[in-house]
């Protein structure tokens, strides 16, 4: 089938307004929240599952890649059409279909914005737990694809712990449910396989999510430190004292500078590090936890501990924290964020390594991360326009990931592998592991057309793919 036939077929499915083929339209879909750019040939924006299925079938007949996209806030290039083809935007599948408070579930379409799930049930005292920093913009479908976490992952787990079932469109256009509305369905956990599959297995069109009940009391404090190692030691001490905060977040001096320059919330610019600690539960317990946390911070030599006095102050702290990535633009035109994980006890050492890497490669690195579960986010700041800088950035990024692995950690906590880390997945898995994973993927996607050239280190399915890899920084290809 040629291009014209494909376009004609897609046109019959979604019509004029939601089939984009002009360069001045499709070019904006060449990038997500990451730094990678590859232009799709066609963008389709269907509005229901039937249209999605029709698009998937047309893509199969035309044998072209199909790349699902939610809000395009991903940080690993997951929604970048690495091999061109069709970008399938799920932004218009944005309905909350069912809210069942008695059974504490909601069924939503993948284009629903993360925070809108919580907004829909907040007045009844419920919330949806996974809260990526981009939650005001990112979609539930994108969260499912990347098995996204967030600051509150520490207490509540990541997306997979909150998804009970998904409706998906398979490679041949079949619409099936995996998992369901109850917490344990018999047989293989196929829903579990889909969560975190980064769009390489099919298109998610409905998601059954778990709702949680809002806690009676939430308390949040900001602890301010004059030295990074004091802050990291405090993280270890807090958890060692048996307190599991709902969130335990760290920002360093450079990250604070970004936030205070871009969209100020009142973080102290002269601090080396701040911790945001949040505890939740029944009133008596949060009071006691707050006292303990404050005591640990002070004992370790925190310069100041500020407890949020009301919800407005609490929201402001979170606004600063959650806006931190986006604020990097206030310091540099580009940033490359890493997503490494280390055991909590190695945080101090890891932060020293990051600081050495920053000096070695002569690059500014802003750290803002989920300290409580050792999930680092070093943001390497740079300017793509400076010749040679990107190469240094990629090397520095690789060095941080190697350090994570050396310290017994992993290369991704929550952002996914995408394009960005596929070169490094081989550091964690051997060929047999990868071949096993690839076979699982092929069971769902025999032609390798769903989000090709992602996740796997070598072009494993290269033989099945016809398109030339386009403009990806060379360093990221093996």
């Amino acid at each position: 089938m040629n291009r014209d036939t494909l376009i004609h077929e897609l046109h019959t499915v979604v019509g004029d307004n939601y089939l984009l083929i002009e360069k001045e339209d499709v070019i904006v879909y060449e990038q997500d929240g990451s730094i990678f750019q590859v232009m799709p040939e066609v963008v389709v924006v269907p509005e229901n599952v039937e249209q999605v299925a029709a698009v998937v079938k047309a893509a199969k007949r035309a044998n072209v890649p199909i790349v699902p996209r939610g809000s395009g806030t991903g940080l690993a290039g997951g929604a970048v059409p690495a091999e061109g083809g069709i970008v399938l935007s799920l932004a218009r599948l944005d309905r909350i279909l069912k809210i069942d408070l008695q059974n504490r579930i909601a069924i939503v379409e993948p284009g629903v914005i993360n925070i809108d799930v919580t907004k829909a049930v907040a007045k009844d005292g419920y919330f949806y737990a996974p809260d990526p920093s981009s939650q005001v913009a990112c979609s539930i479908g994108g969260n499912v694809a990347n098995n996204s976490g967030g600051p509150h992952t520490l207490a509540y787990g990541v997306t997979t712990n909150h998804v009970l079932g998904v409706e998906v469109v398979l490679d041949d256009g079949q619409i099936v449910w995996l998992g369901g509305e109850v917490s344990d369905t018999p047989g293989y956990d196929l829903c579990g396989i889909f969560v975190g599959s980064e769009g390489t297995m099919g298109i998610v069109t409905k998601v059954a999510v778990r709702l949680m009940q809002t806690r009676e009391s939430v308390r949040t404090l900001l602890a301010i430190f004059d030295a990074m190692e004091v802050a990291t030691r405090t993280v270890v001490d807090i958890t060692a004292a048996g307190i599991i905060p709902a969130a335990l977040e760290m920002m360093d001096r450079t990250a604070i500078e970004a936030v205070e320059t871009g969209s100020p919330v009142g973080f102290p610019r002269d601090a080396e590090a701040v911790l945001i600690v949040e505890v939740e539960g029944i009133l008596e317990q949060t009071e006691r936890s707050m006292t303990l946390v404050r005591a640990i911070c002070e004992r370790n030599g925190a310069r100041e501990v500020r407890a949020a006095k009301d919800d407005a102050e609490r929201q402001l702290l979170w606004k600063g924290r959650k806006g931190a990535f986006g604020a990097m633009g206030a310091l540099a035109p580009n940033y490359y964020v890493q997503d490494g994980v280390v055991p909590r006890s190695k945080l101090t050492e890891m932060m020293q390594r990051v600081s050495e890497i920053s000096k070695q490669y002569n690059l500014r690195i802003a750290n803002v991360f989920h300290a409580g579960d050792g999930n680092l986010h070093p943001n390497i700041l740079f300017d793509m326009r400076t010749p040679g800088e990107l190469d240094r950035v990629i090397e520095a990024g690789a060095a941080t990931l190697r350090a994570c692995i050396e310290l017994g950690g992993s290369i991704t906590g929550e952002h996914g592998i995408g394009l960005e880390k596929k070169a490094y997945i081989g550091l964690l898995f051997n060929e047999a592991d990868l071949e096993a994973m690839s076979r699982v993927r092929r069971a769902f996607d025999p032609d390798g057309r769903f989000n090709p050239a992602k996740l796997f280190p070598t072009p494993i399915s290269c033989g099945e793919m016809r398109r030339q890899p386009a403009n990806i920084p060379a360093g990221l290809w093996i």
């Binding site: 929240g33 750019q37 809000s71 806030t73 871009g262 986006g326």
Partner: protein
């Protein structure tokens, strides 16, 4: 091969230096703006989002795409509400990017529309007397029965546009040339912007603003040489006349020797606060423009910061507040208008959902893009309805007209006021009752 070289390979057109703005490089593509953008919310298409439009401008600057009709459509579907600026963690000044792009592509619409707009921007708005004449003719049309006769004869699209014509004030506001002294102890000396449409469509609001300022201890002066602020020009790709108007206003107001320039139209205030940016490359005016911009304040911002004095009578009404985009997003003024409303005794204040989301008025947008404008207005009226307020306050002429139209077309039946209207009424009623007591 590095990424930059590849990018250069991909460009097949000349770069456009005037579009290569520093603001573009502050955007890191995070997408946190998407869901705050009215057009993205409505259409869910990336090219109709702030991040998408920034991407387009950058691609055009790099010579990767043409400045063709598609590009224009995307740039002009934007309402310039600047909600994305409030959402942006990096502080990207999207408005400046969009305004510069529009300056380069020129006014929106068909050839005829562009000619009409150009005429209005360069031959009408900068000339208060011509504006007054036009308004007088329009009033005649509205009051002579001509309107009722002609309306049914118009084709659909024109009829809709005609139905949005605002009613012209019975009499126009003509400020006195000399200083109008403060009532009571003097607390400030201010100059007021008379504006282009305010004295013709909302003469009562200008009168009320003057009274409220004087009651709050302000000497008020209307500098004679002032004219329209030029906001509509800047928003729609006309910069030559806009800069002329800015220069004339700067001279007029700085010569008045006042502490503050008070503006009761949010759109005008935002534009005047940005004269410093507009004239940044003008060697004679760059510094003066900055100084001028630094003393411009919205009326609510000024009064809220100054603190009200004098007695306010209770007003028995339930009010919800619509943040004018160019007040909330353009000037970051949110708390003062709410606090002023809440300071009126007896007035019940109800926040509406999405109060800082555009109502679809957006200058001339409701005429150039009726479909999107009406879509947003319908949504807005639903938000208003769910507060069960009997009145909406929106301190900006465009928003007031739009909301009045919305109330007529879609309900609920609400009164639409400028914030100053209510303060003035509370003052006047207090005065009347105290003189009765005497």
């Amino acid at each position: 091969m590095n990424h930059v070289e590849q990018k250069q390979d991909r460009s097949d057109r000349p770069k456009i230096a005037a579009l290569d703005l520093p603001e573009l490089y502050q955007c890191v593509h995070c997408g946190l703006c998407l869901n705050q953008c009215p057009t993205y919310r409505a259409l869910r298409l990336e090219p109709e989002s702030p991040r998408g439009r920034i991407h387009l401008v950058r691609a055009a600057a790099e010579g990767r795409i043409e400045l063709n009709q598609r590009f224009q459509d995307h740039l002009y579907l934007c309402l310039l509400c600047r909600a994305c600026e409030t959402a942006c963690p990096s502080g990207v000044q999207y408005g400046r990017i969009a305004e510069t792009a529009r300056e380069i592509i020129g006014p929106p619409g068909s050839k005829l529309a562009r000619a009409v707009l150009n005429f209005a921007f360069t031959q009408l708005l900068p000339y208060p007397r011509r504006l007054r004449l036009a308004a007088t003719l329009l009033r005649l049309y509205q009051r002579s029965g001509l309107q009722r006769a002609i309306r049914p004869l118009l084709p659909e699209r024109l009829r809709r546009m005609e139905s949005m014509l605002p009613p012209i004030s019975q009499r126009f506001f003509t400020p006195e040339p000399n200083i109008l002294p403060a009532i009571g102890a003097r607390r400030a000396k201010v100059a007021m912007l008379n504006g282009c449409v305010m004295p013709l469509l909302f003469s009562d609001v200008n009168e009320a603003t003057l009274r409220v300022l004087r009651r709050n201890g302000c000497d008020v002066v209307f500098p004679r040489n002032q004219i329209c602020c030029g906001a509509l020009n800047v928003h729609n790709g006309e910069s030559v006349a806009a800069k002329q108007m800015a220069r004339r206003n700067i001279d007029a107001f700085l010569d008045a020797g006042v502490d503050t320039v008070v503006v009761n139209a949010a759109g005008c205030g935002a534009a005047m606060k940005e004269y410093g940016h507009l004239l940044r490359d003008d060697p004679l005016y760059a510094e003066k423009a900055k100084r001028f911009s630094s003393i411009v304040k919205d009326a609510a911002q000024f009064l809220g910061d100054l603190g009200l004095v004098g007695k306010l009578a209770p007003l028995k009404m339930t009010v919800t507040y619509q943040d004018p985009c160019h007040l909330a997003h353009g000037q970051r003024v949110r708390s003062q208008p709410r606090n002023l409303l809440k300071s009126i005794p007896g007035l019940q204040f109800k926040e509406m959902d999405g109060s800082d989301r555009c109502c679809g008025s957006a200058g001339i947008y409701n005429i150039t893009h009726p479909e999107m404008s009406q879509h947003l207005l319908k949504e807005k009226m639903q938000s208003v309805a769910s507060t069960q307020a009997d009145s909406v306050v929106a301190p900006n002429p465009g928003c007031m007209l739009q909301l009045r139209y919305g109330s007529q077309q879609y309900g609920p039946e609400v009164k639409v006021y400028h914030l100053i209207d209510l303060l003035d009424r509370a003052y006047s009623e207090a005065e009347a009752s105290s003189s009765n007591e005497v």
